[in-house]
Amino acid sequence: MKALLTEADRQLTICNACRYCEGYCAVWPAMELRRTFKDSDILYLANLCFDCRACYYACQFAPPHQFAVNIPQIFAQIRTETYQDYSWPRLLARMVKSNTKAAVVITLACVVAVFAFVLIAQGPAVLFGVHVGEGAFFRVVPYVAMVVPPSIISLFVLGVFATGAFRFWADTRGSPEEMFSWPAFAKASADAFGMRYMRGDGSGCNYPDEQFSHIRRVFHHFTFYGFLLDLASTTVAAIYHHYFHWESPYALNSLPVVLGTAGGIGLMIGTAGLLYLKWKSDRVPGDGTMMQMDVSFILILFLSALSGMLLLALRETAAMGTLLAIHLGIIAAFFLMIPYGKLAHVVYRYSALVKNAVEQRRAAAADAAHGHGH
């Protein structure tokens, strides 16, 4: 990490003497508020970067120029380290982050575990039988088994992320009172939900190659909002179950199924698109480790959506039990790996956006007070 920070400092010193990129994204105005770059500054700037790559293609000092400025790459490398350093336990983080194979092994292990659990606890007749009507899923996997382990994993994930967010905030020199600033939350949320910094000046970002394009933002939106719809579907289903005592499976025109189907299709389109773009993408401004992390995460999201959709389609056949076991296994693996995978970008990029909103508001106030620096 130290070597990465030193290299980022070298590159940012060049950027700060140039400043041609200041119109691109939030990183550059934030950089201009600094004259030298402490480790905390670099950590913050690296996580503020959306990897749109506009600065790389516009840079007259990009490699093979001897100054070798490649900000998207060095920032991706630092983010990879960030996701690892701020999660817990770090051993698991190190194993998962740099290794698509590890992710595959964990996923398979989870699927096999759930499958074996059902087979042993319920017997093959249940697993391979046809179940229809209210409570069909719970006849295969009992309600307690379906709810308790995921709840524990979710609480664990939330705990890891909250700790990471607090540590990140402290390490980027955010003050405690500014951590909960509602205007900053509003600004950061608008930036995040609209993926503002992938819009560029309106023509998109330079991904997967030098051409300006909106395609990555489109696929990211499909993925992100697909994910949110699926989360909403699960939440609605939980409410139905607890408060109305309506047990799944729900009818095809019910709210959980409609939300879940829309979300699942969105996720499949989005993740397939993102994977395709990754494969096509220019490797020079990218980082190999981040690439592996991305691919593992996107792949498992895609598999979650795919298995969910198959389960929906075949829920009244003998394949339901097997598909349910596979789907739950994948979901379990997905949640287990969340703190060590790409989903961490939500936490640290959002924190950086909040810090940016706070800091730019303060700078604008200072500019107004001094009647501008120039």
Binding site: A17, E22, P29, C55, A58, Q60, A62, H65
Partner: protein, 474 residues
């Protein structure tokens, strides 16, 4: 045909319009000629990554405007533009061509945007020029990427690593060019040619003809590909020269900058906040003569005339944060003497220079970097007339300085249709020129921020259209 990007390798032997060069002027010419229906081939001497000549280091373009838009903060009418030009050139301009340039610049905001250039709204770093100049989003390389992408869509053919060596010209008529293409000699015929290959500032042996071995100590801020081969060929084949070959535009850059292509980041803005000594430890010019944006352009020339073509800017802890950070960290020391030693200077002489300077400051001044303030020295030769504050608070900081050459002024003479004027005083039949290769016709000396791109874009378009017309009539 090969367009460099898709890598197919058919190299044309005959085209309508041949554009030699690959920067702003060349691409404007190519796009304009293509829009007139001509088959266009661009010969860029650099590899694809380094395409764009000095344009890749630019940031903004000056243009006349009588209406405000969201990218500029105020009006810039023709007469004010003209007055600015007269002020910086001291009248060394061709008024017809200059007025033509100014008037034709009026639609550059729209024309350049239509051809792939993105503009940036005024931000903190650009405010001082935001009224008169348009800033490219991402700067010059972003601009060039936009032009080249548009050229690809228009079906303009581009060859990279294509070095034009010699233009075959007979009776004021261009016939073919001899090109070194990746080490292979080729001849390419064209009905008309646009010469837009830049100046000769990256050709050190050529500079030595006027500057002797001193030229070895110059730093060339821009592209190493501006070797002036095309300019030399034109002059040898009968084009009329324009401008003083000895003159160039040069600023003070960090002495540790690479010999070529260091670009914007090597310039140093520390001069008005301290003193500058030469290698003998002596001051040689008023560091506080005027605001730095109005003076930085003379410091390259000043340093070029000092022994070893080097100088040293010395400031202290009170002023280190007053200017834009530069790419190289300053030399730092606890005493002036130690700083001098670290920079290879005589500690006693430099200490004496600083002490004499501190003693000569007229007391009672109030320091204000935003004004031509009343902090000055008395009894020094030369005096520092503004912003003279004692250099006394450690740590002390020093930057080595060298002349950083931006561009040369000598080029070919052109008329208002961008046609190259030959020795007999008549315009060439099918040879036009644009950009740095002829900019001296309009900007004979001095510097006006963003004006090089203006001349390049305006004359590029004129040259491209003229070339397309003359090609269609042949």
């Amino acid at each position: 045909m090969r367009d460099g990007r898709n890598g197919s390798t058919v190299i044309p032997t005959t085209v309508d319009v041949l554009v030699i060069g690959g920067g702003n002027a060349a691409l404007c010419a190519a796009l304009a000629a293509r829009r007139e229906g001509a088959e266009v081939l661009v010969l860029e001497g650099a590899p694809e990554h380094f395409r764009g000549g000095n344009s890749r280091h630019t940031r903004d373009v000056r243009y006349m405007h009588t209406r405000v838009n969201k990218f500029v903060t105020g009006l810039y009418p023709e007469e004010e533009f003209w007055d600015d030009l007269i002020r910086v050139t001291g009248g060394r301009t061709n008024e017809d061509l200059a007025r033509l340039t100014i008037r034709a610049s009026e639609d550059l905001d729209e024309w350049m945007a239509e051809h792939g250039v993105k503009w940036q709204r005024p931000l903190r770093g650009t405010l001082h020029l935001a009224r008169t100049n348009l800033f490219m989003l991402g700067g010059g390389r972003g601009m060039m990427n936009g032009y080249y992408e548009t050229a690809r869509r228009f079906g303009v053919h581009v060859l990279y690593d294509a070095n034009a060596q010699d233009l075959a010209i007979r009776d004021g008529t261009f016939d073919h060019v001899v090109v070194n293409l990746n080490g292979e000699r080729r001849e390419i015929r064209a009905k008309a040619v646009v010469a837009a290959a830049g100046g000769f500032e990256a050709n050190i042996p050529w500079l030595k003809q006027y500057w002797g071995d001193d030229a070895d100590n110059f730093i060339i801020r821009g592209t190493p590909y501006n070797t002036g081969t095309v300019l030399a060929s034109l002059l040898e084949r009968g084009a009329q020269t324009n401008g003083d070959p000895r003159e160039f535009h040069a600023v003070a850059v960090d002495g540790r900058a690479p010999t070529f292509d260091g670009g914007i980041v090597t310039r140093l803005d520390s001069v008005p906040f301290g003193i500058v000594v030469n290698r003998n430890g002596e001051r040689f010019y008023d560091e506080g003569e005027d605001f730095w944006p109005k003076r930085y352009a003379i410091w390259g020339g000043l340093i070029a005339r000092q022994p070893g073509q080097e100088a040293y800017s010395i400031i202290d802890a009170d002023t280190i944060d007053r200017f834009m950070p530069s790419v190289f960290h300053p030399v730092e020391a606890g005493t002036v003497g130690e700083l001098a030693t670290k920079m290879g200077l005589d500690a006693q002489k430099v200490t004496a220079a600083v002490e004499t300077f501190n003693r000569s400051i007229v007391p009672g001044g109030s320091f204000d970097p935003g004004e031509l303030d009343d902090c000055r020295t008395e009894g020094l030769a030369p005096n520092k007339t503004h912003w003279a504050v004692p250099i006394k608070k450690p740590p002390f900081y020093g930057y080595p300085l060298r002349p950083g050459i931006t561009f040369t002024y000598m080029g070919v003479t052109v008329d208002d249709r961008a046609r190259v004027i030959m020795h007999d005083g008549r315009p060439a039949a099918n040879i036009t020129a644009a950009g740095e290769l002829m900019a001296g016709n309009v900007l004979g000396r001095g510097y006006l921020a963003g004006f090089g791109l203006t001349i390049g874009a305006v004359f590029g378009r004129i040259a491209g259209r003229e070339a397309a017309r003359s090609a269609s009539s042949r």
